[in-house]
C-alpha cells in the first residue's frame, strides 16, 4: 500500500471504531464532593447515595440504553479547589452535567464555573440563596434555600402556644451558609419583636466554643439557635454550651451537622431534645419515601437523612432530563440540550415534587431555576434517644415534640 492510502486506512478504521464506541459510552455526571478533610463524612454519604441510584438506573437498562456514571472529585471542603475540580470535570472528563458541592461555599464557586463553561449544574444539597439568585441560567436547584430552611421552625414558634421565644441567642459560622441562615432567622424573629441577645459569628472549624457559650450564658437567652455547616462545630458547640451551663427552653440547630447520626453518636445524652431545622429528607409518611429508607438501610446499615435522599433524588432528576434530551455526541450541544431538558422537568422523587421555575424567595431573593415546591420542603425535627424524628408540621411529623427542654443542667 502507498503511504497515503495507509494513513487513510488507519483513519477510516479508527473513525469506524470510535463511532461504534460512542454508542456504548457512558453518560457522565460530575460531582465535586469533600472526600477527605473535615467534611469527608458528608462526601461519603453522597457517594453512597449516588452509587445506589446509578446501580438501580443502570440495572433497568440505563438512560435510552446508555449507562450513566457519576465521577466524584475531591475538593476537600476548600472553595478554590472546588472551582478547580469542577473545571477539570467539565474540560477533561467532559461531563454532561454537574451535581454535588456539599457546602455552600464550594457550591458558589462551582456555580460560577458551570455558568462560565456552559455546563448545567443541578444543585442537590448546598443551600445559600445566592447560588440560584444570580440569574445563572445554567444552575438549577432541587433542595430548599437557606432562607427557606427555617420555615418549619418559624411555623412552630407561631403555631404552638407559648413557643414564641422571649429572647434568642444566635450563634453561626462565618461561611456563606451560616450567614444566610442566621440572617433569615434573625429577620423573622425581629419581625415578631423577639430581642436577639447574642449575634455571634464564629470561625468555622473552631477548636473551642467555651468563650462564646460563656458569653451566651451571661445573657440567659430563652432560645439558643446554633448554625453549623460543619459537623465537628455542631458537636463541639452543643457540648460546650451544655458544659458551660447554657439552659434555654430549646436548643435549635440549623445545618448539616445537626442532622447527621454522628451528632447523637458522639454526644450521647447531650444530644437529647435538640431541635434540627431543615433536615428535609422526604416526607416519611409517603410510601415511596418509606420504601427508599428501608432499601437504603438494608444496603448500608443506617437510615438515610437529608444528604442521602437529596443525592439519590438528584441522580434520578438528572437521569430523567438526560432521557428527554436529544444527545448528538457533540458535548457543547448536548449540554445545552440537557439544560433545555432540565427546564422542562416535572416529576416526583423520594425527596418530593420538582419543577424548576423563577420566583421570589421569602427574603426577596429572585430565584432562577429553583424548585417551585421548595417552600414545602422544610421540617423541624428533634433528637430523641439517638434518633432524629420529624416533629413539625404535623403532616410530616413522625412523633410528638418535647418542649420546653427540661433535661439540661445537672
Amino acid at each position: 500500500m502507498s503511504h497515503k492510502s495507509k494513513i487513510l486506512a488507519v483513519l477510516s478504521l479508527s473513525l469506524a471504531l470510535s463511532s461504534g464506541g460512542l454508542a456504548q459510552e457512558t453518560l457522565k455526571i460530575g460531582a465535586p464532593q469533600p472526600m477527605t478533610g473535615p467534611d469527608a463524612p458528608f462526601g461519603d454519604k453522597f457517594q453512597k447515595a449516588y452509587s445506589m441510584a446509578v446501580e438501580e438506573i443502570n440495572a433497568k437498562g440505563g438512560v435510552n440504553g446508555r449507562k450513566i456514571e457519576v465521577i466524584i472529585e475531591d475538593h476537600q471542603a476548600k472553595n478554590p479547589l472546588a472551582a478547580t475540580v469542577a473545571e477539570k470535570l467539565i474540560t477533561q472528563n467532559q461531563v454532561l452535567v454537574l451535581t454535588g458541592g456539599r457546602a455552600s461555599g464550594q457550591a458558589v464557586e462551582i456555580a460560577s464555573v458551570a455558568q462560565r463553561l456552559k455546563t448545567p449544574y443541578m444543585v442537590d444539597h448546598p443551600s445559600a440563596d445566592i447560588i440560584t439568585s444570580k440569574g445563572f441560567e445554567w444552575v438549577f436547584r432541587n433542595n430548599p434555600t437557606g432562607s427557606i430552611y427555617p420555615e418549619a421552625f418559624n411555623k412552630f414558634i407561631v403555631d404552638v402556644p407559648g413557643a414564641m421565644p422571649k429572647s434568642a441567642a444566635v450563634v453561626y459560622d462565618n461561611t456563606v451558609f451560616g450567614k444566610t441562615i442566621a440572617n433569615s432567622v434573625m429577620t423573622f424573629l425581629k419581625s415578631k419583636n423577639v430581642p436577639i441577645v447574642n449575634d455571634e459569628a464564629y470561625p468555622v472549624n473552631s477548636l473551642d466554643f467555651k468563650p462564646i457559650m460563656t458569653k451566651v450564658k451571661g445573657n440567659n437567652p430563652d432560645f439558643v439557635l446554633l448554625v453549623a455547616v460543619s459537623t465537628t462545630d455542631a458537636i463541639l458547640m452543643t457540648r460546650h454550651a451544655k458544659e458551660m451551663g447554657v439552659a434555654p427552653r430549646a436548643f435549635v440547630g440549623f445545618g448539616g451537622g445537626f442532622g447527621v447520626v454522628d451528632f447523637a453518636k458522639q454526644l450521647g445524652p447531650l444530644s437529647e431534645n435538640v431541635f434540627s431545622s431543615a433536615a428535609w429528607s422526604g416526607n416519611p409518611n409517603e410510601a415511596a419515601t418509606k420504601e427508599f429508607y428501608a432499601k437504603f438501610k438494608a444496603k448500608y446499615g443506617f437510615l438515610p437523612k437529608e444528604h442521602e435522599v437529596e443525592g439519590y433524588a438528584a441522580i434520578y432528576i438528572i437521569a430523567d432530563a438526560l432521557k428527554r434530551a436529544k444527545l448528538t455526541g457533540n458535548v457543547d450541544a448536548d449540554r445545552e440540550a440537557v439544560r433545555q431538558s432540565l427546564l422542562q422537568t416535572d416529576m416526583t422523587t423520594v425527596f418530593g415534587k420538582i419543577k424548576f421555575g423563577n420566583w421570589d424567595g421569602p427574603l426577596g431573593d429572585k430565584y432562577t431555576n429553583q424548585n417551585t415546591y421548595s417552600r414545602e420542603h422544610s421540617v423541624l425535627a428533634q433528637w430523641k434517644a439517638g434518633e432524629l424524628l420529624n416533629v413539625w408540621p404535623k403532616s410530616n411529623a413522625e412523633t410528638g415534640y418535647v418542649f420546653p427542654d427540661v433535661a439540661l443542667v445537672r
Binding site: 472549624n205 473551642d208 468563650p211 460563656t214 458569653k215 451571661g218 458537636i235 458544659e243 458522639q266 445537672r410
Partner: protein
C-alpha cells in the same frame, strides 16, 4: 464577675494543652535549630493511639499516656536517627522542606489507614462538668491540666537536675562548646527529638477526650502552636508555657468581651505587638 472568672478558667485550661504541644516544638528548635513541621502529626498520632487503645482495649487515655508517650519517644528517636540526622547538616531550608514532606506523608498515611471520618472519645465520667463555686470546669480538661503540670514539672526536673538535662541545655546554648566539654551532641540531638515527640504525643493523648480527631487535625493545632512558640521565644520552655497560657487567656477574654468573630485576630494583634517590642519573643534568648 462570674463571666470573667469563667473566661479566665477556660482560657488557662485550654492554654495549658496548647503549652504541652508548644514545649515539644520549642525544645527541638532550641537544641537543634530545626523547625519541625511534622510536630502536629506527632500530636495526631498520640491522639489516635489514645483513641484506639480506648476503643479496642478499654484503656482510659489518662492511663494509656504511660504507654504512648514512651513509645513515641522511641519513634521520635528513630525518626531523627534514620530520617533527619543526615538531612540537618545540609541546611535549614532543606530540613524545613523535609519535615513538611514528613508531615504530609504521616497525615496521608493516617488518612489511608483510618479514613477521613472524624471521631470523638467520650469518657463516661466526663459527661458533665464539675461546678466549683458555679464555675463550669470540664472534667477531662481539668485532669489534662493537672497531668500537663505534672509532665512539665517532670521535664523541668529532667532539664535542671539530671546530667542528660544539663547536656541538653548545654547543647541548646552552644553545641560546639558542649561538644568540647564532652557532650555527645549527636546523641543529645536524637534524645531531644525523642523528648519533643513524646511531649507532642502526650499532649495528643490528653487533648483527645476534649476535642475531636481526624488525620489532618495536626494542621489546625500546629498553626496555633507556631504562634505560641514564637511569641514565647524560640527555644524557651518557660516562654512556650507563658505564650500558650497568654494566648489562651487572650482568646477567651477577647471572645467574651470584644468579639467572637475576631478572637483569632486579637491573638494575632497581641502577637505582632509583642514581636514589635521584643523581637525575640517574651523570654527569647536573642540568638538567631
Amino acid at each position: 464577675m462570674e463571666i470573667f472568672v469563667q473566661s479566665v478558667v477556660s482560657g488557662v485550661l485550654t492554654g495549658s494543652l496548647y503549652a504541652m504541644i508548644a514545649i515539644g516544638l520549642t525544645i527541638v528548635f532550641g537544641v537543634m535549630r530545626i523547625i519541625n513541621l511534622a510536630h502536629g502529626e506527632m500530636v495526631m498520632l498520640g491522639m489516635f493511639g489514645a483513641y484506639w487503645s480506648y476503643t479496642l482495649w478499654g484503656i482510659d487515655p489518662f492511663v494509656s499516656i504511660l504507654i504512648w508517650s514512651p513509645l513515641m519517644f522511641l519513634v521520635g528517636m528513630a525518626i531523627h536517627r534514620f530520617l533527619l540526622r543526615d538531612v540537618i547538616p545540609k541546611g535549614e531550608l532543606n530540613t524545613l522542606l523535609y519535615t513538611a514532606g514528613l508531615s504530609l506523608f504521616v497525615a496521608n498515611l493516617a488518612l489511608f489507614f483510618w479514613t477521613g471520618d472524624y471521631r470523638t472519645l467520650n469518657l463516661p465520667y466526663a459527661q458533665w462538668p464539675v461546678r466549683p463555686f458555679g464555675i463550669a470546669v470540664p472534667i477531662a480538661l481539668a485532669i489534662a491540666f493537672c497531668m500537663a503540670i505534672a509532665i512539665t514539672t517532670a521535664l523541668y526536673l529532667l532539664l535542671s537536675r539530671t546530667d542528660i538535662g544539663r547536656a541538653i541545655r548545654a547543647t541548646a546554648q552552644n553545641s560546639q562548646s558542649a561538644a568540647l566539654m564532652g557532650v555527645n551532641v549527636k546523641r543529645i540531638d536524637t534524645i531531644t527529638f525523642g523528648v519533643g515527640t513524646a511531649l507532642a504525643a502526650a499532649a495528643g493523648v490528653l487533648l483527645v477526650p476534649s476535642l475531636y480527631l481526624y488525620p489532618t487535625v495536626g494542621e489546625i493545632l500546629i498553626t496555633k502552636c507556631f504562634v505560641i512558640v514564637v511569641l514565647g521565644g524560640l527555644g524557651s520552655v518557660p516562654g512556650a508555657i507563658a505564650g500558650a497560657i497568654l494566648l489562651g487567656l487572650v482568646e477567651s477574654l477577647g471572645a467574651v468581651y470584644v468579639s467572637v468573630a475576631y478572637k483569632d485576630t486579637i491573638g494575632f494583634v497581641l502577637f505582632l505587638l509583642v514581636l514589635l517590642f521584643r523581637p525575640s519573643g517574651l523570654f527569647g534568648v536573642g540568638r538567631s
